[in-house]
Amino acid sequence: LSQVSAALKEGRVTPTELCQRCLALIKSTKFLNAYITVAEETALKQAKESEERYKRGQPLGILDGIPVAVKDNFNTAGIETTCASNMLKGYISPYNATVVQKLLDQGAVLLGKTNLDEFAMGSGSTDGVFGPVRNPWSYSKQYKEKSVPKSHSEDEDSNWVITGGSSGGSAAAVSSFTCFAALGSDTGGSTRNPAAHCGVVGLKPTYGLISRHGLIPLVNSMDVPGILTRCVDDAAVLLGSLAGHDPKDSTTIQDDFKPFELPNLTDVSKLSIGIPKEYHAPGLSSEILALWSKAADLFKNAGAKVVEVSLPHTRYSIVCYHVLCTAEVASNMARFDGLEYGHRSDKKESTESMYAATRREGFNDVVRGRILSGNYFLLKQNYEKYFVKALKVRRLIANDFMKVFRSGVDILLTPTTLSDAAPYMEFIQEDNRTRSAQDDILTQAANMAGLPAINVPTALSERGLPVGLQFIGRSFQEKQLLTVAKWFEKQVQFPMIQLEEVKKHDNSVFQHQKSASFS
């Protein structure tokens, strides 16, 4: 981001050119299905305004003129916000989510809204009404080289891989260079999972740091806006512009937040890295296990203290999440009744029959399934047994982390996903709940405990697809977390995607990385 910002300041490129290039790239990568809505007119208008500011020598900051994308579950004034659901098709938000407003106030150019799983429920970005998102790496030289050669050209299109989810559109958008940063949301890993599969940085901030006002809620006690960027420094920039108390979201903490620049760490000898043994979960691919081990060695050889730790309740985090998520979803989805906004059924006999028909027509199976499960767990006869029980288990999970951090560990290092991205045809063999339960296993606990976590792209798998590793930090210690992540990023030199079907752009604008890789 700092490079582009400098280029804009020096006039080597104008915000309008930047915007136009991104819009053109979006058009030529339409097959990825990363965007639901492209706000071409407003984006160009914002770019023009930015250009005027640069001409006057008064840019609003580092984000002025920078094209960004926002996941379609954030409200954006005047732009359709659908959550990839029939329930909100045609819904034009009357207001901007706080994080969107903050981006606009700093001059960022909003290119459009990205695709997701319906209402952010899912781990593949495959269950939205606008169709699945395709991982840009499916079309990379690196993946194609490793694929079994197909004899017929019509088969070539069928082994594309998923982006992961639910912020798949945002991850794909950043990964395919159509924007410089994107907003996602993270409730169970929804930002870090697609970040890992798409080879980008995915940051889940501490719960309470960034405002959720305007983010259509899934689980109020765990949702956070997520940040997707191409490098850790950029994530720090975005964090700096978004974090802070918001009077419109009373779950944001009132402490003063000071944006920071990340130091270039050279000495890691004072660092203590924890390796939670329970994260060696069943189903973890041997490739990722090896990478994780290699990363631990990297820290050890650089002088850091690397210790094995235990988070004994890790395996219950998914079950706990399942109960709490469905319960909160049952409550949060109750607002969709067709009266004030969104889809409305034609049934007129009674309010209840209209509501029932509207919800029947508007929600997909996944959403309806979670609402019904949630209502079951909240029934009077089940409340103590399931809901309250889950809340107790939640405390145990959060306490596990507290114990480990109190014992002197600074940062935890874990894998982000169990394997590299699966081909779409394979992924859809199992239903959404099964997939979510499998894929969220490594990311969910951080949401349970409200801790900050980040995915850093680490290396390419044997299939030529990105694999990332996750760092989990102490509450509100994003600076430390990102500093360590940045050091690690520098060590691994993750290769740049070599997109085949897409023309590459002017090199002066995009970052270069050596292709020497970690694995």
Binding site: T326, T351, S353, D365, L372, Y376, L391, D431
Partner: protein, 108 residues
């Protein structure tokens, strides 16, 4: 133990969402089975945690009106409205009982 038809019907009424078919009911059964794993954990003496920010005070601002007067924006997205009202079909009419419905659950 399977969930009884009465409870299924009750859930459909509470949620105002239908199971649609046997797959929907299976989904619930599996969800309950999955959730039952919670009972393996010993939570004696553990307090439920509803928020990770439980040690902090929620922010409460002054009771001053700072925004409003946006009737036009609020009505913009509603399909049926009259003057400044959202229009709803008649209320207080309960959904038909299970026996009177043409739903999948009838056949169970």
């Amino acid at each position: 133990e399977k969930v009884s038809v009465e409870v299924l019907d009750h859930l459909e009424h509470l949620a105002l969402v239908d199971f649609r078919d046997s797959e929907g009911v299976e989904r619930l059964q599996k969800a309950i089975q999955f959730a039952d794993q919670l009972h393996e954990v010993n939570t004696d003496g553990v307090e439920p945690m509803d928020s990770v920010l439980e040690d902090r005070c929620l922010y409460l601002r002054e009771d001053d009106v700072t925004e409003g007067n946006c009737i036009k924006e609020l009505l913009e997205n509603a399909r049926e409205k009259v003057e400044e009202y959202f229009v709803a079909p008649p209320g207080n009419i309960p959904l038909p009982k299970l026996e009177e419905q043409d739903t999948f659950l009838q056949g169970s």
